[in-house]
């Protein structure tokens, strides 16, 4: 089975990583960790800075790569399966769904809400949209911590 794990660095995506670490998998299951770099929306007052999003050198990509490497190391400490990482840019929902299609994912495992500090509904909507549009099965991991903010 091919398992896609979108990571955004939030508590909830940590819950999804824990789920992957603790649950049993088949030896031939493979995982793809993905972080989507989204252009900063102008409506929160910060202008879109194209340079930050240049693949390979942009600050956003460097940070994403660092995040993925940390999670990768974490997963590799318990799993011997094939695990790859990928950073992509664009709107999170569309990118995740497209990648699931391209990579032929059988399952997407993600947290129930996204990054903290923003509107909870807005970011939970990425999860909801992915769930609705995904071409494959989806596991939405809720943990006590990440659903407490109600």
């Amino acid at each position: 089975m091919r398992v896609l794990i979108p990571i955004d660095g939030s508590e909830c995506s940590k819950a999804a990583v824990d789920y992957i670490k603790e649950r049993p998998w088949n030896k031939d299951d493979s995982f793809l960790l993905v972080h989507v770099v989204e252009p900063i929306p102008v409506d929160i007052g910060i202008a879109y800075i194209p340079a930050a999003y240049t693949p390979d050198e942009g600050a956003a990509f460097t940070q994403s790569e660092a995040l993925l490497q940390v999670v990768l190391g974490d997963l590799k400490s318990v799993l011997t399966n094939q695990i790859d990482t990928k950073v992509i840019a664009g709107p999170a929902k569309a990118e995740i769904v497209d990648l699931a299609q391209e990579w032929k994912a059988d399952l997407i495992v993600m947290g129930s809400h996204g990054r903290k500090g923003f509107n909870r509904l807005l970011l939970g909507s990425v999860t909801e949209d992915v769930m609705k549009s995904a071409p494959c099965s989806v596991t939405i991991v809720k943990s006590a911590h990440c659903s407490k903010s109600e």
């Binding site: 089975m1 990571i7 660095g9 939030s10 508590e11 995506s13 940590k14 819950a15 990583v17 824990d18 789920y19 603790e22 649950r23 049993p24 998998w25 088949n26 031939d28 299951d29 940070q63 994403s64 660092a66 995040l67 940390v70 999670v71 974490d74 059988d106 129930s112 909801e128 769930m131 609705k132 995904a134 071409p135 494959c136 099965s137 989806v138 596991t139 939405i140 991991v141 809720k142 943990s143 006590a144 911590h145």
Partner: protein, 168 residues
């Protein structure tokens, strides 16, 4: 900031190594996928399963005479058949695991959520459309509603899952 991810405290209420898994079934093909998924995956030794089917007496897609005259009996026996068949399949696949079945009644979403709370489920496993999925607009509405209100993790099983895919 992004690297704070790993320093976050571990806050799961229960262990992920012995989960209580609620499988919600009805007579639709998408719901069959949920049981097929369970039958094709590895599970932890201490996982427990509860297989449920909800009898929603408002259901209008079964216009048999018996359904009109004694709806509870007709729908209950259908629900019982669904859960007992599923239990048998699962028992053959996981002979050592604790398996229970339950027939619930009432509006589907509420019944599933209520049951998940009472049984302290860690994961709800369900097919993506349920039996109301007649057109794209209502398609999956039960799964979406369950996801929104669920007290635990939810897995939506979407397409036919086969062992063949595991080998590729």
């Amino acid at each position: 900031m992004l690297l704070n991810l790993l320093s976050a405290p571990k806050t799961n209420l229960r262990s992920l190594t012995n989960m209580k898994i609620l499988i919600s079934l009805d007579s639709s093909s998408s719901s069959q996928r949920a049981i097929d998924f369970a039958l094709s995956r590895p599970w932890a030794e201490d996982d427990e399963f509860l297989i449920v089917s909800v009898v929603d007496v408002d259901r209008g897609d079964m216009s048999m005479a018996s359904a009109m005259t004694s709806p509870n009996k007709t729908f209950n026996s259908e629900a019982e058949r669904i859960v007992s068949e599923a239990k048998e399949l699962l028992h053959n696949y996981l002979p050592q695991h604790k398996l229970e079945t339950r027939c619930l009644s009432g509006p589907i979403k509420q019944a599933i959520i209520e049951c998940a709370k009472n049984w302290s489920a860690d994961l709800i496993l369900l097919g993506s459309q349920g039996r109301q999925g007649l057109n794209r607009l209502v398609l999956g509405s039960i799964a979406e509603e369950v996801l929104r209100d669920a007290p635990c993790s939810v897995q939506i099983v979407r397409r036919k899952f086969s062992r063949r895919e595991d080998q590729s």
